[in-house]
Each structure stands twice: as structure tokens, then as C-alpha cells.
């Protein structure tokens, strides 16, 4: 059976265009080319430098953000493809001036050193609880998409366990 592929092609342009994103609950518009990654849009165009660029290749996890609540790598996401999705970055974790419990737990457990992977770790750690993968024997595997070169891993696990237990105890 032959399928007739007759629909008119979409217009595609490599020129800068206006892209409307929702970042941390706020609508923003920026003029960017299609090749701009979500990561670079956040860092270079929106001034949201909390999201980090460690490899730009999907191998380190420093650029982890949420798209519609699910954790993704912003270095491998085109900003233009982020239209229509709710993007959340580390800057959106706080509730008013109040630290998210995971942020507080990271400080309390010394779950970072240089701090460069930390925003990505936090975005994964909070997502992990949502995903229901925070059992003692799951945390390490489900946090393995975020490299910490300072190797604060045991402390990161401690912080996650604390937040998990506090949430479960309420």
C-alpha cells in the first residue's frame, strides 16, 4: 500500500526567530536561531547561569533541567523545541526566599565541593523523589547521570535520604 505523502512542507528557517519559553513559571521571549541549545539560551540569553555546561555532549549531567517536570539534558535540547513545555531550572527550586529542602540538605551534608555540578545534581535529586526511585539501593544508580568530579557522591546520597525520610515522616 502506497501512502501519499502530499501534505505541504512546513517552513523551516535557520534565521533567528522569536521563541517563547516558560521558564520557572514565567513566560519569556527571546530571539534566537534554531541551533541555540536550551542550555545556551538559559545561560547566554536569559542570564540564568545556574544551569551549568560541563561537557555539552550529554555525558556529565551538569545541565540537567526539568521539562514538564521530567529531568532532561538542556545541552542536547534545542531551545526552540522547548516551546510549549514548562522548563524549570535550579533558580526555580526555591520557594520565595526559602531554600528547597533538598538545597538545605545539600548544604547540611556537604554534598558538593566546587559546586559546578550541584545545580544538575539538585534537579536530579528532586526528580528522583518524584520518580519514586529513592530507595537506599536505587539512589546511586538513579543519580548516576550526574557526574561530580569532586566525588561528593556519598554525601549526595546522605542528603537525598534525609529529604526522603523527612517527606515520608510527615
Amino acid at each position: 500500500m502506497a501512502i501519499h505523502v502530499g501534505s505541504p512542507p512546513l517552513e523551516g528557517t535557520s534565521k533567528a526567530r522569536t521563541v517563547a519559553l516558560t521558564v520557572n513559571g514565567e513566560g519569556v521571549e527571546l530571539r534566537i536561531e534554531p541551533r541555540v541549545s536550551l542550555l545556551d539560551a538559559l545561560r547566554e540569553h536569559l542570564g540564568l547561569t545556574g544551569t551549568k555546561k560541563g561537557c555539552d555532549q550529554g555525558t556529565c549531567g551538569a545541565c540537567t533541567v526539568w521539562s514538564d517536570g521530567r529531568r532532561v539534558l538542556s545541552c542536547l535540547t534545542l531551545a526552540v523545541a522547548g516551546e510549549g513545555h514548562e522548563i524549570t531550572t535550579v533558580e526555580g527550586l526555591q520557594d520565595g526566599g526559602e531554600l528547597h529542602p533538598m538545597q538545605a540538605a545539600f548544604i547540611a551534608h556537604d554534598a558538593f565541593q566546587c559546586g559546578y555540578c550541584t545545580p544538575g545534581q539538585l534537579m536530579s535529586a528532586v526528580a528522583l523523589l518524584e520518580e519514586g526511585r529513592a530507595a537506599d539501593d536505587e539512589i546511586a544508580e538513579w543519580m548516576s547521570g550526574n557526574i561530580c568530579r569532586c566525588a561528593a557522591y556519598p554525601n549526595i546520597r546522605d542528603a537525598i535520604r534525609e529529604v526522603r525520610d523527612a517527606a515520608g515522616g510527615e
Binding site: 536561531e33 541551533r35 541555540v36 545556551d40 545561560r43 547566554e44 542570564g47 540564568l48 547561569t49 545556574g50 544551569t51 551549568k52 555546561k53 560541563g54 561537557c55 555539552d56 555532549q57 550529554g58 555525558t59 556529565c60 551538569a62 531550572t89 535550579v90 533558580e91 527550586l93 526555591q94 531554600l99 538545597q103 538545605a104 545539600f106 548544604i107 547540611a108 556537604d110 558538593f112 565541593q113 566546587c114 559546586g115 559546578y116 555540578c117 550541584t118 545545580p119 539538585l122 539512589i139 546511586a140 544508580e141 543519580m143 548516576s144 547521570g145 550526574n146 557526574i147 561530580c148 568530579r149 569532586c150 566525588a151 561528593a152 557522591y153 556519598p154 554525601n155 549526595i156 546520597r157
Partner: protein, 752 residues
């Protein structure tokens, strides 16, 4: 009095780091910013025959394409480690001065564009043609031409060292071990890529640079460009990891400055992850041979330690194999020689635990083998060879704690329950093994004068400034604690100002010296302010403390009081208001003890590890690590433990994962990405126990601090390798230890 030093204070920069508000060097917003991208050489050796920049220049949005023709002549500056406080280029070679190519990845052009994307794209359009020449990049290729240099390690160390007669000692031994270990090159791969943002205003240059020492950056760029340091300011607060890679100042920093001057705009140059393998040196490929002689009772008669490694075409660099390794044990004779192969690579550089990570690995694996052959427990063998003095000089240790580390570490690990016979413990498919090793790292006094300034306001709060930066060690936290302690203030009342070369001079915190040297200056600055006010109170008839002996006045929470009558006293603020002082400030300076200080200077520790080796598949997973360390006085156990834990996991990684593979045919690193250069992920990291053993040391500065930055990595790899041997009965002599090294030792009947 509530002690501030030694308290488990949380990091002073914690909030900035968890909220994402900490701005690293590539995150400074600047109007008119342009982006630079380096074009690296594709050949390892040869000559550039032509560079066609037209396509790049015409790509649109490109501000400039710079080649060697666009760069001024740059001064030649000798390679001197940044700890010495002067200019400190990572290699004496500076690129884009002529057409010669000495290593793959060497910068040959720089593209500056309006956007990050366009800079990268235009860089791919630069057409460079080469006349290639045969290259040497591995020991295997250059062994025949190896030579013994005069000095190594940036001129720090002689290439040869000896005490007693090692040949005699080996000959007269009851028993010997002769083992050779091969180490893959390592790249630090800090998570933050090297980034420099350069801004010119007239003839003044501001740099934001991810570095380990802002003063070193200032002085190096000044020396290379022939500028006065007073015209260069470096501003860096946060650095996303360093591990030695940012201890020296690499060409891209100055290239960024030159590019910015060329385009008359602020320029940010970020090194890509692939370029991270050719932009800042590495731990060199090396081979170490250790020969031990011992009597039946375990006493070492001699150690012979030889190293061969690859250096660059320009510099005689080798990390020293046997600083600590020659000092750990009381062997009457020691001899060691470094030999070098000139290769087409960058000049290697400091990598966490420089020298000791590989040198002590070799020694401690050989010691393990010796223990097995003697039938002496490995911990006991070390105990029998303890030295009360530095065996190289005969000087007493400034402090030791080695025996205590061995004892407490063994206790915490449960070492006594160990069956010494290899290959006896099994859990299902897993062969379980345990191993241990000694750890040691030198304390060196090569730094220059350290300075800090303390200013106390009349409201009882203080600002302390020093030209340090924070790259994850927690130094800014402990400096805040030290200042608060000396001032007698609460932690919250002291703010540390740092990350600016205009602040009082501090050296590059490298070689585990940061806390020791900068805290000394901070201590003296803060103590000077306190002493001044205490003296003022004691001499002030209006003060309740009038006439008191200042030595008997303590300060707590900003209130001065008599030590034996806390009711009698007043606050700093009351005193200062009476004297119409809005603030008061003092400069603190600390000069290191002389290099020939008559003490043995070494930080000691002991490492223990339990591993599981898959009996069929040969994969090694570390189950548990224990480290006991005696780093002098511990300023903050929380951050100290984190440093040590991180180091221990680095040792694990060195033992099992990390290796950069050279494609000797192409002369290029073959696995230059974080997907292929394996660093540990969360699932690799076991639980790590760190035991801190405080020892008094009145040689290493006013606070008795020795350092925690590197020793965690020293010996932890050896403990793991020894545990792998204990699990399997097989000793691997190559790092990283991988599946293919172990398969031959694992039973496999079906292989036929």
C-alpha cells in the same frame, strides 16, 4: 568560649552554590561580549603550510580570525610552579608564535564571533594545511632515547636522589621484591571547562579566569605580555574544580586577552570538553620500577625506585615518584632516578597527589607483595619499618601520627578479622578482597609571603580580605573560621572578601598548602586587630579591663573579658565608640619557615579498601573504603573529611577507571570525552569512612595545619589494587585495572 576553629561549619558559599547564584568565570554578564573558539592542530608534529581563514571570516557574525600573523611576540617565561608566587606558565612554549606544531590540539588559530554557536561553526571553517612529521607520544615509542634530566617538576626537584648504598642493601637482603607498574596518563577533567573572560579598558586588563591562583594568572599574563601587574586585575570567586589542572597558567588565558585586545571587545574563551585534553597538561604516562630488599623480620634494607615518563618537547617535567615514597620507611638505603622521553604532548602538570599518587602506589603495592612473601601482616610490616626521623635527612618529624593512622584505620576497617590468604572469600559470584596501603604527602615551604587584611567595624562585624579563590576545597570557609576565631567573633559576624588580585597577596593554594599558608596570614591579620583593641582596653582608664594583663583577656562574641573573671569586660563596640573609631584594620603577613627547616615534613595516613571482583566477568567494584589521616590541626572536620573522601575516590578512580589513551599513530588522545574518559559516577562510589587524627605541629605555621587536599588520593589506589590481589591472587601491574587484566586470572574451564 565557643571554639570556631575545629567546628563543623557549613560552607560559607553553600547558599550561592545550591541556588545557582554563584557566578563562575564564564558567567559574568558583559555588554558587547564576543565568544572565542580555539582551532587546535590536527597533527602532533609538523609545520603549518597554510591557513585559509576566508570562509570563517565570511561566515557572518565573525569579529576576527586570528592566526600567528595577528599575534604579537609573547615573552618567553620560565616554567616555575605557581606555589613559588611568581609567573607560572604551564609550559615554556607559547603557541601561535611560529608555524611549528609540537602537539595535537596546539592552538593554531582563534575565531572570535558574536555568538557561541557562530564561533564554533566558524572555527570549523578554518582550513589549516600541515606538513606532518613523525611524532613520538608514548614511552613505547621513545624508550630508546630516554634521558636523565638535571631537574624535574618545574625545577623543583633533582631527578636523582639517594641515601646509603641501595645496591649493597638489595644485595644483602634476605628477600627481595622487584615490581614494575605502568600508569595510563590522566586528565583532571574538572567539571567546569577552562574559561577566561578578558576585558580591556584602555591599557588595563581585567580577567575572569577559572584558575587555582589569581595572583599567578596576573603575574603570568603580565610576564608574557610584558605588562605591569598593576595594570592587570583578576577577579575569580568560584572555580568549578581544579585538581591541579588550574595550578599553572595555560596559553588560552593569554590568548583570550590577546583576542579581546584585537577585537576591542570583551571576549570569553571557553575550552570545549574535547579541548580539555589538550589545553592544560595532564598526568604523564609513566612506568615505575620498585625494588625492595628486606630481612626476614621485615626490616627494609634498601629501596630502589626508578621512573620513566613522557614529557613535552620543551620542558623537563615529571611528577616526582619518590618524595614521600623515599621518606615513609626507615630503610637505610634508597636510590631513585627519573628518566624522560621527549614526546609530542603538552608539558604534563600537577595532578591531584602529584608524584605521590603514582609513586606511593608503586611502593605500597611492592610492600604488599613483600608482606605476602614474608608472611607478615601488611599493617605490621609498615609498623616494623616506621621511622622516628625523616630517613632522608635524619631530622625529626614536625609531627607524624603514622602509627596511629595505621592502628585506628585498621580498627575502624576491621582489619584484624582478615584471612591473609588470597582468594579465600567469596559471596556468590563475587570474590571479596581487602587491602591496605600507607598514605603520605609532603608539606613544602616553597611559597612566598602570604598576606591578609582584617577590618573590624565598630558594630562588631569584620571583613577579612585576601587574594584567594574557592575551587571547592572549602578554603574560604576555613579562612572565615580562622578569622572569627582570632577576632573572637561569631562566624556570622565575619565576611571573607576574596577572588580579587587587588586584595592582599595570597599564593596559589596548591600542593595541599592553601589552608596552611593563607590561614596563617588571616590569623595574623585578625589577631593583630584583636591585640590592638585588647591593648587599648587594658590601657584605657575608662575600660573595665583597665590595667589587666592583655594576655589574660579573652574575646568571645566580640566581648573582651578577663579570662578568670568573665563578668569584667566590654565589647569591641563600646571601646571603639569611646575612642571614636569607626573601624580598625590590620595587615597580617606570614613567611614560611626556611626551606632547610630541620624537620621532616610529611603528612601521614593509612588507607583500607574492600573490593568485590566478579569471578566470571572480572569487573571490580569497591565496597568500602576507610582512610585515617593525621593532617595536623583540623580547621573544619566537615570540609576536611569531604576533601579526603574526594581524594580517596580519586584514588579509586585512578586504580580502576581513568586512563587517557594515546593513538600513537595519529599522535592524538583517542578518548577525549567524558563518555570515553571514565570518571566515577555515583554508582561507583562506595561509602567512605574518614578518620581524622589530630597531631600537634608547631613548625607548619601558627595554627599547626598540614593539609588535606591530596593525601586522600595517595595510597587509596594501592589499597584497592592490593585488595584486588587479595580477592583474586593476581597482581595487576597496570593502571587502570580493567576487566582484561583480570580475566586471565579467573578460572574459565570452558575457554579450552
Amino acid at each position: 568560649m565557643t571554639a570556631v576553629i575545629g567546628r563543623e561549619a557549613v560552607r560559607v558559599d553553600g547558599r550561592e552554590k545550591v541556588t545557582g547564584s554563584a557566578r563562575y568565570s564564564g558567567e559574568i554578564a558583559l555588554p558587547g561580549l564576543a565568544y572565542a573558539e580555539i582551532v587546535g592542530a590536527l597533527v602532533a608534529r609538523g609545520r603549518i603550510t597554510s591557513i585559509d581563514t576566508r570562509a570563517a571570516e565570511n561566515a557572518g557574525g565573525v569579529a576576527a580570525v586570528l592566526t600567528r600573523r595577528d599575534l604579537p611576540a609573547v615573552n618567553r617565561v620560565p616554567l616555575v610552579p605557581s606555589l613559588m608566587g611568581g609567573p607560572a606558565p604551564g609550559e615554556t612554549f607559547f603557541p601561535m608564535q611560529d608555524d611549528e606544531v609540537h602537539y595535537a590540539g596546539q592552538p593554531v588559530a582563534i575565531v572570535v564571533a558574536d555568538s557561541l554557536e557562530q564561533a564554533r561553526y566558524a572555527a570549523s571553517l578554518v582550513e589549516v594545511s600541515y606538513a606532518g612529521a613523525p611524532s613520538v607520544t608514548t614511552i613505547g615509542q621513545g624508550r630508546g632515547d630516554a634521558y636523565e634530566p638535571e631537574k624535574i617538576f618545574g625545577g623543583f626537584m633533582p631527578a636523582r636522589s639517594r641515601r646509603g648504598d641501595a645496591r649493597d642493601g638489595l644485595a644483602s637482603a634476605d628477600l627481595g621484591v622487584d615490581a614494575t607498574f605502568r600508569f595510563a596518563p590522566n586528565h583532571h577533567n574538572a567539571l567546569e571547562p577552562m574559561t577566561t573572560t578578558a576585558v580591556w579598558e584602555d591599557d588595563r586588563l581585567t580577567l575572569y579566569d577559572s584558575c587555582q591562583g589569581i595572583k599567578a594568572v596576573q603575574l603570568t599574563v603580565a610576564a608574557l605580555l610584558g605588562m605591569s601587574p598593576s595594570r592587570i586585575r583578576v577577579l575569580t570567586r568560584y572555580v568549578g574544580g581544579a585538581f591541579g589542572s588550574k595550578a599553572m597558567v595555560w596559553p588560552h588565558v593569554t590568548l583570550a586577552a590577546l583576542a579581546a585586545r584585537h577585537v576591542r571587545r570583551p571576549v570569553r574563551l571557553t575550552v570545549s570538553r574535547a579541548q580539555m585534553f589538550t589545553s592544560y597538561g595532564h598526568r604523564e604516562e609513566q612506568e615505575q620500577r620498585v625494588r625492595l630488599g628486606a630481612r626476614r623480620d621485615g626490616a627494609l634494607t634498601a629501596i630502589r625506585h626508578d621512573k620513566i615518563s613522557v614529557t613535552s618537547p620543551f620542558d623537563d617535567w615529571a611528577e616526582p615518584a619518590f618524595c614521600a615514597a623515599s621518606q615513609l620507611y626507615a630503610a637505610p638505603a634508597f636510590e631513585g632516578v627519573h628518566r624522560l622521553v621527549r614526546g609530542n604532548t603538552m608539558t604534563p602538570t600537577f595532578t591531584r597527589g602529584p608524584g605521590e599518587a603514582a609513586g606511593v602506589f608503586s611502593l605500597e603495592c611492592a610492600m604488599d607483595e613483600l608482606a605476602g612473601r614474608l608472611g607478615i601482616d601488611p599493617v605490621e610490616l609498615r609498623m616494623r619499618n616506621l621511622s622516628d626521623v625523616d630517613p632522608n635527612t635524619g631530622h625529626p618529624w614536625s609531627s607524624s601520627g603514622f602509627a596511629e593512622c595505621l592502628r585506628r584505620g585498621a580498627e575502624r576497617f576491621g582489619w584484624d578479622a582478615r584471612d591473609p590468604r588470597p582468594g579465600r572469600e567469596r559471596e556468590g559470584d563475587q570474590l571479596i578482597g581487602t587491602g591496605m596501603a600507607a598514605a603520605a604527602y609532603p608539606v613544602a615551604f616553597f611559597m612566598r609571603t602570604q598576606r591578609a587584611r582584617a577590618r573590624l567595624y565598630a558594630d562588631g562585624t569584620a571583613v577579612v580580605g585576601t587574594a584567594a579563590q574557592e575551587f571547592g576545597t572549602g578554603m574560604t570557609t576555613v579562612l572565615t573560621q580562622v578569622a572569627a576565631d582570632a577576632l573572637g567573633l561569631g562566624l556570622d559576624d565575619v565576611r571573607l572578601d576574596y577572588g580579587d588580585t587587588d586584595l592582599p597577596t595570597a599564593g596559589s593554594p596548591v600542593g595541599s598548602n592553601g589552608a596552611m599558608m593563607v590561614s596563617a596570614a588571616v590569623h595574623y591579620a585578625a589577631a593583630a586587630v584583636r591585640d590592638r583593641l585588647v591593648a587599648l582596653a587594658a590601657g584605657d582608664p575608662a575600660s573595665p579591663l583597665h590595667g589587666a594583663d592583655p594576655a589574660w583577656i579573652t574575646v568571645d562574641g566580640g566581648r573582651m573579658a578577663l579570662a578568670d573573671d568573665p563578668g569584667a569586660g566590654e565589647s569591641y563596640g563600646e571601646l571603639m565608640e569611646r575612642h571614636l573609631m569607626g573601624d580598625t584594620e590590620a595587615l597580617g603577613t606570614w613567611d614560611p619557615p626556611p626551606l632547610d627547616t630541620p624537620y621532616g615534613l610529611l603528612t601521614f595516613g593509612a588507607q583500607f579498601a574492600r573490593v568485590a571482583v566478579d569471578a566470571d566477568l572480572g569487573t571490580v567494584r569497591v565496597r568500602h573504603m576507610v582512610g585515617a589521616f593525621a593532617p595536623g590541626r583540623v580547621l573544619n572536620p566537615r570540609t576536611a573529611r569531604s576533601q579526603l573522601m574526594g581524594g580517596m575516590l580519586w584514588g579509586m578512580s585512578q586504580a580502576l577507571l581513568e586512563g587517557t589513551h594515546m593513538d600513537a599513530g595519529l599522535g592524538r588522545w583517542a578518548n577525549a570525552s567524558l563518555g570515553d574518559y571514565l570518571v566515577p559516577v555515583n554508582a561507583d562510589a562506595p561509602e567512605v569512612d574518614v578518620e581524622l587524627i589530630e597531631v600537634d605541629d608547631d613548625v607548619t605555621g601558627p595554627l599547626g595545619v598540614k593539609g588535606v587536599g591530596e593525601i586522600g588520593q595517595v595510597g587509596s589506589g594501592a589499597a584497592i589494587a592490593n585488595a584486588v590481589h587479595h580477592a583474586t591472587g593476581h597482581r595487576v601491574h597496570e593502571l587502570p585495572i580493567t576487566v582484561e587484566d583480570l580475566l586471565p586470572a579467573l578460572e574459565w574451564e570452558a575457554g579450552r
